[in-house]
Every structure is written in C-alpha cells, then in structure tokens.
C-alpha cells in the first residue's frame, strides 16, 4: 500500500465514527468514549471536529468532558492503574497498596510516568469487594493484595 495522500488512520476512524452517530439523539457521550479509544485521550482538534459535525457548542462538549471522571484532555500512560479506595478496600488496607504503587512509580494520583508507561488513578469502587484490597491494571483485576506484591504486578505491563 502506497499513497502519499493517505489520511491519518486515527483521523479516518474519527470521521467514520462521526458519520455513524450523526443525527442520533444522545450521541455525545458514546462519541467521546470512542474518540478516547482512538486517541487515548481527547485532543482539542478532535473535540472541535465533534462540535462541528454533531452541531453541539464546544463549550457544552467541554462541560461534559470535565464532568465525567472517565474523560481526559491530556495524553495518558499505556497502562492505567486503578487503585480501589472503596469502603471494603479501605477497611482492608487499600491505602497502603495505593501508597506502594505511588512509591514504586514515583508519581501521584492522577499522574502519568514520564515514559508514558503508567497512569495512576484512585477509584471509589470496582465491585470486586470480596477480594479487597484490589487494583485494576487496564482490564485485569488483581485482588487480595499485599503491598509487597505490587512490584511483580507492575512488571507484567510494558
């Protein structure tokens, strides 16, 4: 395949996405979710394009992006670590796990490592309370943790 005028594949994916949802009621949140799946976050240019295509003011889109915890306006790590600080994890020592993760990576809640390998987020509950304390790395849930298990778990993710 050779074509000098070939469009950026991400841009193409976004256009296909917008074509699919154009004119649908209540499309904004799924569009933002899938745009974030494409780029890993929500770049300004993509938001402007969504605004034009779906005919929703950019201010309103920005309002939605900043309301929900799931949307991110800056690039994130390849691996997202969600540390559960819910009630069940709290009473079973979730804070110590959280401390250790931050210590191992040298970053704080909500931050991303410089090499973009990891982002840490604290979350309120991931619904695996029976195995508290738990963390989630991407879609993998790790339960019944002790702080000393953290380095080995982190090593599994590149």
């Amino acid at each position: 395949m050779c074509c000098c005028e070939k469009k950026d594949p991400k841009q193409e994916a976004l256009e296909a996405l917008l074509a699919k949802y154009k004119g649908q009621k209540g499309a904004l949140i799924p569009v933002l979710q899938q745009t974030q799946d494409i780029y890993g976050y929500l770049p300004k240019e993509a938001l402007q394009q969504i605004s034009r295509e779906l005919k929703i003011p950019l201010s309103e889109i920005f309002g939605v992006c900043t309301f929900y915890a799931q949307f991110h306006l800056s690039p994130r790590g390849r691996n997202i670590i969600r540390v559960c600080l819910g009630t069940a994890c709290h009473v079973r020592g979730g804070a110590k796990i959280f401390e250790r993760v931050q210590q191992e990576l040298g970053i704080k809640d909500g931050e991303t490592t410089e090499d973009l390998r990891f982002t840490i987020e604290s979350v309120a509950c991931i619904g695996a309370c029976g195995l508290a304390p738990v963390i989630m790395v991407n879609d993998d849930t790790h339960g019944r943790l002790t702080p000393d298990q953290i380095p080995d778990i982190l090593a599994q993710y590149e």
Binding site: F67, Q70, T87, V91, A124, C125, G127, C129, T141
Partner: protein
C-alpha cells in the same frame, strides 16, 4: 402467538444429554477472574484440548462464595456435583485427573457437595445447602447465577427463562401485569425502596405515545457488587424483566445504563441482547404478539451521581449528569421528556420469577411491609466475604455471624455499614434488628443497594465518617449549594478532628450542617450525604469526643493521634524493628530493650508488623 414450549423442551433435553458427560464448571465472574479463575480455565482448556478428553468445559457467573475463589465444579454423571475452592492452575489439573477422569474426590480442596438423589460422595465434605454460608439463603433474584452459562440463551430458556414474558404477552393485560407486581409487594432494590408496581402504574397512566424503560446498572456504592453479579451471571433475567415492564407501561424502547467500570457485564449484556433479538424475544413483534421492544446499552462515563435517576437520564441524553428538580417525576416526564420507568438491576431480575410463580409466592417471603428476598454483598472484616440472598426480615446478626462466619482474626465486632455512602453504621446493640427497609431507616441507616461492610475494633468511626464524606464531597456534582459547599465544610471539620486539631464546638457544627444539607439539597445524593456522620455521631459519639478532647484515637487509625512505644518487658532486643524503621527512630543495643524516638517517628507502623513479641504498643 409463537410458543417457546417446544424449544424449551429441546433445550432441556440437551441439558440432560450434556449431564451424561462429565462437566467441569469454572466460576468466571469479575471476582473469579481476579482471583485467578482465568488461569484455571487456561490450564483446563489446554489439558482437555491436548489430551482430547471427553469432558465438557464451561464457565458460569458468580455463585457468591467469593471467599474461596477461584472456584471450579466437577459434575460426573455417576456422582454428586462437587465444588472446589481456592484452586489454581496446578490443583485444577489434579482435580481433572483424579476426580473428573477417575472418580476420586480431591477431598482437601473440596468446599461442598450437592447430593444427587440422596447420595453423597464423602461424608466429610459439607453439603452445599447445609453449609452455614448457604443454609439461611433463598435464591430468587440470583437463582441462576453460577448455575447457568450466562452467554447461553438456550440454558436460560431451559431453566424457565422467558416463560414469564410469554405468559404476559399471551394472557395478561397491561393492568393485570401491574396489579401482579403491586400484589407481590416488590420494592425498589436500588436504595429508596419505592413500591415497584406503583411506579409502573404512574408511568402507565401518564399520557403519551412514546415511553421509555431504563435499567439503572450504575452500581456506584462502594462495597456493593450484587448488580454486577446478576449482569455477569444471568443477564437475560434483566432483559426479560425490562421487556415485561415495557409491555406493562406501554414502552417500546429501553436503555441499560451500565457503569464503565464493569466491562465484563457490558460484554455479556451485549451478547445477551443479540441472542434475544435473534430468538425473536426482543425487537419487532416479539413472539408474534405485535409487541415491539428494543434495548440499548449506555456505558457510563464515571460519575457516582448518575445513580440518581434524573442525573442518569441527563447522562443518557448526552449531558452533564446533574439531577433535575422534581416534580415532574420521570414517570411523567423523563428521558427526552417522555414518561419513563427507572428501576435497578435486581428489581428487574425479580420480575420474571414473580410473574412465573405468582405474586403470592414472592409475598410469602419477607416482612409485612418489605416482601421477598434481598441480595447482600458481604465485605469488610468478615471470615466469609461473598454474595448472599436472604429473606427480608432476617436479623443483621444472622447475616454477619451465621452466613458470613463472624469477624476475621478473632477480633471484636464494632459496626456494620449498611447502604453505602448514604447509609449508616449500626453498632452491636442493634444487631438483632430485622433487615427490612423501615427498621433500617429507623436506625439511621438504609437498605440502599445492599452493601454490608463489616468493621472490627481496629476501625476508627471518625475516620470512616471522613472516608464517606470525602467520597460524597468528590462526587458532588456542584449544582446545589448545600451539597457542594456544605459537604466541603463538613469534610474540613472531620479532617481537623482526625488530625488532632478538633475544636470543642465541632460536633455541634457538624450536626447543624448535616441537618441543613439533609433538608435543602436537591437530590438524594446530597440529602443523604450527611448520614454517615449523623449515624456515627449517634452511636459512636464518644469516639468523636475522645479525638477532640483527649486527642486519642482508641482504634489506632488516626496517625496524628498515635504514639508508638516499646514495652521494655516484652522487647527481646532482636533489632528487627530497628532494621525496618525507615527514619532511624529506633535505637538500642542487641538483646536489650529498644526505644522509639517520638520526635523522629513518622508512625508508619512498619515496626509493629515486624515485631514477633508484641512488644510495640500503639495508642
């Protein structure tokens, strides 16, 4: 109308055929997978494939025994079903070899057996229904969870699935369905406990040619995971319940709003919807009855307040998930300003059973004002964490001590948190209270979604109140002032108390603020936000006073109030604490009592964990 009876017979026969073979079931809910269920599956799948074994390997959702996850079961045609717990890839292969292939039970890993025709395998293995964890349970809403394959509509139908929908469409009028639900006494399982039939009736009576059904699967309460288990273990029950509701109120479209933190639930729901559409049980002209019902999934984007029904509606519409002023109620003007019925997952999952077995069967369980059964998520410092469905009216003590097996490590029970961040803590003296909507509310807690977090003597109640306030404060959407500003001020006060800087007037201020927020906040989240503080003040006021006046945290949690000391009589001078101390605060000669320099100590607690002689005292 098309009847499902023949299909059901066919699917049941298939199950009978399948039971003639040896079947291995692996528990693959999120909890099972997190505990290592996927590794067990991998090991078994490889073995079955490589050796070309005549064994059927299947997976199921969660059977509620979280404390022994990962779980696998072996069903041999000639033996009762045996449940194994705490298995790993290696032991799974051992069970495969010894039990599945050679009929010899691996007794040290067996958790329970389910006798077949009165026959048991080994007398020493507990009988499933007689185990303390199971004995007091009734399974209605989660009856299929962990039993059927959640990705198979055939199994759901074989177990009586979609029979209720067929019954409703073929022989009941809309009002008859609503009457039946009203008669059952079912109340909303998501928190408020509003009578479900009445809610349906409001939506039915609201004029309009377009109506909607919404399923609230935004299970946001920390400590609750029953809805996730239902969605992952028996998704069709929820779809069937929603379709019945759609017929009853006159809606042809529905949405399931699932929180984004539940990817597996979303996947299984998507599959279930596709299967139901293909089987003609969702979509146009269902079973040839002329009734249309289309279902869509909306994934949440991470906002606790979206569990509130009007905020959830805004979120489905693609807006910021902020609550609306009520009235008008969603039953009159909900999604896109059309009449809308909104119930949670467990409520819908109860509907097929009520229609199939009748309202009287359901109303036969429970108390006078709270009928049926309720699923509770048992977590915190109990011996057996898991999911248990019990008849409403059972006492809190029975749940915690009989089912969940009491407190871990022989510690003393202190309180149980019921109803998530909006609920309250209940102390020991009320443990014999029956669990029903009204008794719990009277105690300052609430049924909520059914999360039970058990706390022992090492939990500080002021810290717990602060934990919940921190949560609601972060999740406050900011629309109304009492919640946005009030919870912030309350949190500041609680932080101050935990840091040892509490002022004598703080307790009064907390109470005053709580009452203002309760009576003036816009939505349920704000109105209930002060509950954890009010409940702890009611039952554990002395702990607040200890923190403020004596600068003491008896539970040993609030770091600023702690002091670490070494008991010279118990200290053997082994030096383990000295080695582990990150700031070099411990000094002492070998074989002589050591000392902690309070000025240097950062109260991290590392020394306590290392000391083998219990010589370090925290207080």
């Amino acid at each position: 109308m098309i009847s499902l009876a023949e299909k059901r017979k066919e699917y049941q026969n298939r199950l009978v055929e399948k039971a003639k073979k040896t079947v291995i079931v692996v528990g693959m809910g999120t909890c099972g997978i997190a505990a290592g269920g996927d590794k067990v599956w991998q090991a078994l799948e490889n073995a079955v494939k490589n050796k070309n074994l005549d064994i059927e390997l299947v997976y199921s959702g969660c059977i509620g025994l979280c404390y022994v996850e990962p779980i696998m079961e072996v069903h041999r045609p000639d033996m009762p079903r045996v449940i194994y717990g705490n298995v790993n890839g290696e032991t799974a292969l051992k069970i495969l070899e010894e039990h599945a292939l050679n009929g010899k039970v691996v007794s040290d890993l067996a958790v329970a057996q389910d006798p077949k025709e009165g026959k048991t395998v080994l007398p020493e293995i507990p009988i499933l229904n007689e185990m303390p964890f199971y004995k007091k349970q009734v399974k209605t809403a989660i009856a299929n969870c962990g039993i059927i394959n959640p990705d198979s509509i055939e199994e759901y139908i074989a177990y009586g699935g979609y029979e209720a929908l067929e019954k409703v469409l073929s022989s009941m009028s809309q009002t008859q369905v609503i009457e039946e639900v009203k008669k059952s006494g079912l109340r909303g399982r998501g928190g408020g406990g509003f009578p479900t039939g009445l809610k349906w009736e409001f939506a039915y009576k609201s004029p309009g040619d377009k109506k909607y059904v919404i399923c609230n699967a935004d299970e946001g309460d920390p400590g609750a995971f029953m809805d996730r288990s239902v969605l992952e273990g028996d998704p069709h029950a929820v779809l069937e319940g929603m379709a019945i509701c759609g017929y009853a109120i006159g809606a042809d479209e529905g949405y399931i709003y699932v929180r984004a933190e539940y990817p597996l639930a979303i996947k299984r729901l998507e599959n279930a919807i596709a299967q139901a559409e293909k089987a003609g049980l969702l979509g146009e002209n269902i079973l040839g009855s002329g009734f249309n019902f289309k279902l869509r999934i909306k994934a949440g984007a991470g906002a606790f307040v979206c569990g509130e029904e009007t905020a959830l509606i805004n979120s489905i519409e693609g807006k910021r998930g902020m609550p609306r002023v009520r009235p008008p109620f969603p039953a009159q003007s909900g999604l896109w300003n059309k009449p809308t019925n909104n119930n949670n997952v467990e409520t819908y999952a109860n509907i097929p059973g009520i229609i199939r077995k009748g309202a009287d069967w359901f109303a036969g369980m429970g108390t006078e004002k709270s009928k049926g059964s309720k699923v509770f998520a048992l977590t915190g410092k109990v011996n057996r964490t898991g999911l248990a469905e019990v008849p409403i009216g059972i006492t809190i003590r029975e749940i915690i001590f009989d089912i969940a097996g009491g407190i871990q490590n022989n510690k003393k029970f202190k309180a149980v948190q019921i109803g998530g961040p909006s609920g309250g803590c209940i102390p020991e003296e009320y443990l014999d209270t029956p669990v029903d909507y009204d008794s719990l509310t009277a105690l300052g807690a609430m049924m909520g979604s059914g999360g039970l977090v058990v706390m022992d003597e090492t939990t500080c109640m002021v810290d717990v109140a602060r934990f919940f306030l921190n949560f609601t404060q972060k999740e406050s959407c900011g629309k109304c002032t009492p919640c946005r500003e009030g919870t912030k001020r309350m949190l500041e006060i609680l932080n101050r108390i935990c840091d040892g800087k509490g002022k004598p007037e703080d307790i009064d201020t907390l109470e005053r603020l709580s009452n203002v927020i309760k009576s003036t906040a816009l939505c349920g989240l704000g109105q209930s936000a002060p509950n954890p503080v009010l409940a702890t003040l009611r039952y554990f006021r002395n702990e607040y006073e200890d923190h403020i006046h004596n600068k003491k945290c008896t539970a040993g949690v609030c770091t600023a109030l702690l002091e670490y000391k070494i008991d010279p009589d118990k200290c053997k001078g082994c030096g383990a604490c000295k080695k582990v101390c990150p700031v070099g605060a411990i000094s002492g000669e070998k074989k002589e009592a050591h000392e902690i320099d309070a000025g240097k100590c950062i109260k991290c607690g590392s020394c306590i964990e290392k000391c083998k002689f219990d010589a370090i005292i925290k207080g």
